[in-house]
């Protein structure tokens, strides 16, 4: 049966050889092993922990370890309210992550400041980081975060391999 995919593989014809594009292969590796950097700041971090636990297992999707070291992680999940005081630290940690890196803004506070329209809360982490996926909810259901991860995987699959990643604005 012939199907059109990125990976064209017919084992009877080609044996143990897979023909693919570099983009597809590299992106397949990247998207199926997105190690999160959990920036758990507030209540959304509890739901993030739930996602990491056994019922809504995030390691099914390749996010096997929550690397609390930015040097070893791929996606930063900003889970919680970003205050101005904390925004400094969040930006520093993001800068320390190696390319390629992505950001998921989890919950209302990280996306837009949430219910806190006040003097101390950054109105959305996208003021300081380029966000790839926003998750709505207060807090979002664990399934919602997994849906965001799947959407991010879809985004990663489409990225050209040899592109310069996120530029500082």
């Amino acid at each position: 049966m012939q199907t059109k995919t990125d990976v064209g593989y017919n084992s009877k014809v080609e044996g143990g050889v897979v023909h693919t594009r570099l983009d597809a292969a590299a992106n397949w590796c990247r998207k199926n092993s997105l190690w999160p950097m959990p920036m758990g700041l507030a209540c959304c971090a509890i739901e993030l922990m739930a996602v990491g636990a056994s019922r809504f297992d995030i390691s099914r999707f390749g996010s096997e370890v929550m690397r609390f070291s930015p040097r070893q992680s791929d996606v930063m999940i900003v889970a919680g309210t970003v205050t101005y005081k904390m925004a400094l630290a969040v930006k520093r940690i993001y800068d320390q992550m190696a390319e390629p890196k992505w950001v998921i803004a989890m919950g209302a506070c990280a996306s837009t400041g949430g219910m806190y329209r006040s003097y101390a809360v950054l109105q959305g982490v996208d003021h300081i980081l380029p966000v790839d996926v926003y998750v709505a909810g207060c807090p979002p259901r664990p399934e919602a975060l997994l849906d965001a991860l799947i959407k991010l995987q879809g985004k990663v699959a489409k990225e050209p391999f040899l592109t310069t990643q996120k530029q500082v604005a």
């Binding site: 101005y84 005081k85 925004a87 400094l88 329209r117 006040s118 003097y119 101390a120 109105q123």
Partner: protein, 221 residues
């Protein structure tokens, strides 16, 4: 000894500086007319009356009145389980009180928070600096003349901070209206918006499907 008796002992010791103990719902409140002796009063309360636990220090902004600040000290005795509230007033021109960190070490952070949020300084405090807002933040946020959304400030190294947007946002409900539908923003058309933006649950004629014979169409309300 009940807290009322302990408050009476405080009054006996300090005379006219302490008001008559007021009781409300089982809680005793005592007012101190001169904020300069607050440290002595607290030291006496701790050593002689057994109030060895400072529960909280908080400040009130009586905006428009003089004196502007009221400081409230909540004391508790772990031995005798009695609680006492101590209030004192500070004027805005002075905006300074003696610290009680010599009596209870926990007052350090409570007084830092009052300094951060209200701007009342504490004489003799070992480390008076901001505790919640960042160093160099120029305003005092919990004063009554400070807007909730905040004023624009410079946060060094990260970004400028603008006041958070409040008006005209999508999730601002209006007061009044007999049910949630009319209070919700979807039912409200802003005056500045063009007319075609008025969508939502206002009475709009939904197009009815054409009647087909033999089929019962039900209306869902």
């Amino acid at each position: 000894m009940s807290p009322l008796e302990l408050a009476q002992k405080l009054k006996v010791r300090f005379g006219n500086l302490i008001s008559e103990p007021k009781e409300f719902r089982g809680e005793i409140t005592v007012e101190l007319s001169d904020a300069d002796v607050i440290a002595e009063v607290c030291a006496f309360a701790k050593t002689d009356l057994g109030f060895d636990f400072l529960v909280d220090i908080t400040s009130i902004d009586n905006y428009g009145e003089d004196p502007r600040w009221t400081l409230v000290y909540h004391l508790y005795g772990l031995g005798h389980h009695g609680a006492l509230r101590l209030k004192t007033a500070v004027s805005e021109e002075l905006s300074e009180v003696l610290t009680v960190t010599g009596v209870w070490r926990t007052a350090e952070w409570h007084e830092r928070e009052i300094f951060d949020m209200m701007g009342i300084r504490f004489r003799g405090h070992p480390d008076l600096r901001r505790i919640l807002m960042w160093e160099g933040y120029p305003h005092y946020p919990l004063r009554k003349d400070f807007p909730l959304a905040g004023k624009p400030t410079e946060e060094p190294e990260i970004a400028f901070t603008e006041g958070a947007p409040e008006e005209g946002g999508p999730f601002v409900t209006v007061a009044g209206g007999k049910d949630a539908m009319s209070r919700e923003p979807r039912a409200r058309v802003p005056e500045s918006a063009p007319a075609d933006l008025s969508t939502g649950l206002e009475a709009k004629e939904t197009p009815k499907p054409p009647e087909t014979p033999g089929v019962e169409t039900k209306e869902f309300i």
